[in-house]
């Protein structure tokens, strides 16, 4: 049986761990609330873009084909978006499992977030590591997307996939591998595209707007990932706090039992001693 002192130390150490986890939970909750607001303002903007792109991509154009037509090769790039820090439950591991399960071979990788790089140990296509937060995700996307697009348009890569945690709700984040290039565009507009007047002209419009749209896809995925990360961390820290409570309760029970036992033993010693001097 552990001594009273050992038990007391254990209780105080679990209590201090609990305090840290509670603080982390509070920070993650605040960040999560912030990114969720960002998502709800970002999505209508993204949808407005998507709708216009969908109309234009129905036209047959020389420039549009580069972004829309499936290429024959299978020189594929995977952009993997994981977190920089741990303590976010199964946020990273579920995503890594999803990537491994698909058994697809990617010829090149780009890692955003340290955990993915540490896990897969592949080298990055751009010889650079990327990190991001809800503060700079637009800049990261703006830096990254033209470089990827350039390689894609030069036929150095045939498909671009992105592995990330899709944000669904505070308790659900879905590990997803999605094709970002060539674009997958749902048919959103009911207008026949032939009647649309486009300025400057269709080909130049595509040259201007499609790269912007690729940047937008990447930013929207980054924002989804960071929101999922904060949601996952909030849930993980909430669980951890609750587990700490359980441990504290159990250990306190043990502490009381042990203390009671030692008091009983002492009492018996005193009684025995008193009996002896009689």
């Amino acid at each position: 049986m552990p001594s009273l002192k050992e038990i007391r130390n254990k209780i105080s150490s679990v209590k201090s761990t609990k305090r840290i986890m509670q603080a982390m939970k509070m920070i993650a909750t605040v960040k999560y609330a912030k990114t969720q607001v960002m998502i709800s303002s970002f999505r209508p903007y993204y949808d407005a873009y998507r709708k216009i792109i969908s109309t234009v991509s129905k036209m047959s154009t020389k420039n549009g084909e580069k972004y829309l037509k499936q290429k024959e090769g299978s020189n594929d790039l995977l952009i993997l978006i994981s977190s920089d820090r741990g303590l976010c439950g199964s946020y990273n591991s579920n995503l890594f499992r999803k990537v491994e399960k698909s058994e697809k071979i990617y010829n090149a990788n780009i890692f955003i977030g340290k955990k993915g790089k540490d896990y897969f140990k592949h080298s990055s296509m751009l010889d650079e590591d990327f990190s991001f937060s809800e503060k700079n995700f637009k800049e990261v996307s703006k830096n990254l997307s033209p470089r990827i697009l350039e390689k894609y348009l030069n036929n150095e890569i045939d498909n671009v996939y992105v592995g990330y945690n899709k944000f669904i709700s505070a308790i659900t984040q879905e590990p997803t591998v999605m094709r970002a290039l060539p674009f997958q565009i749902d048919d959103l507009s009911d207008e026949s595209s032939a009647d649309v007047l486009i300025e400057p002209d269709v080909e130049s419009f595509i040259d201007i707007v499609f790269p912007q749209f690729f940047n937008l896809i990447i930013s929207s995925i980054l924002l989804d990932s960071i929101t999922s990360e904060h949601a996952a961390r909030t849930a993980a820290m909430d669980n951890a706090t609750r587990n700490a409570d359980d441990i504290i309760r159990e250990t306190t029970k043990l502490f009381n039992k042990t203390r009671q036992a030692s008091i009983t033993t002492e009492l018996m010693d005193i009684v025995n001693g008193a009996e002896a001097v009689k």
């Binding site: 109309t55 009647d195 400057p200 130049s204």
Partner: protein
């Protein structure tokens, strides 16, 4: 024909404008252009610069905007801009 159209201006940080309007003018890669009510189906890029909206009361609202695009469909005008600040 109605004398106004529904205008929605989106940016990544939220909706900048959502109301009916009488006229919107902006700059695309060909130069300055304007949209009036009843415009045909239309799509164009927008380059950074000034964007002006004349609302239903006839007041002019000016914005300083970043790159983006505009589309017109059934008297609904949708503008999506990378950045946008009301002046």
């Amino acid at each position: 024909m109605s004398d106004s159209f529904e205008l929605k201006i989106y940016t990544p940080d939220g909706v900048l404008f959502s109301d009916s309007a009488k006229r919107i003018s902006a700059i695309n890669s060909l130069g300055q252009f304007g949209i009036l009510p009843g415009h045909t189906l239309f799509a164009s890029d927008i380059v950074s610069g000034d964007l002006e909206v004349i609302n239903n009361d006839g007041n002019t609202i000016s914005f300083e905007v970043g790159d983006g695009l505009i589309s017109v469909e059934n008297n609904n005008v949708t503008v999506a801009l990378e950045t946008g600040v009301k002046l």
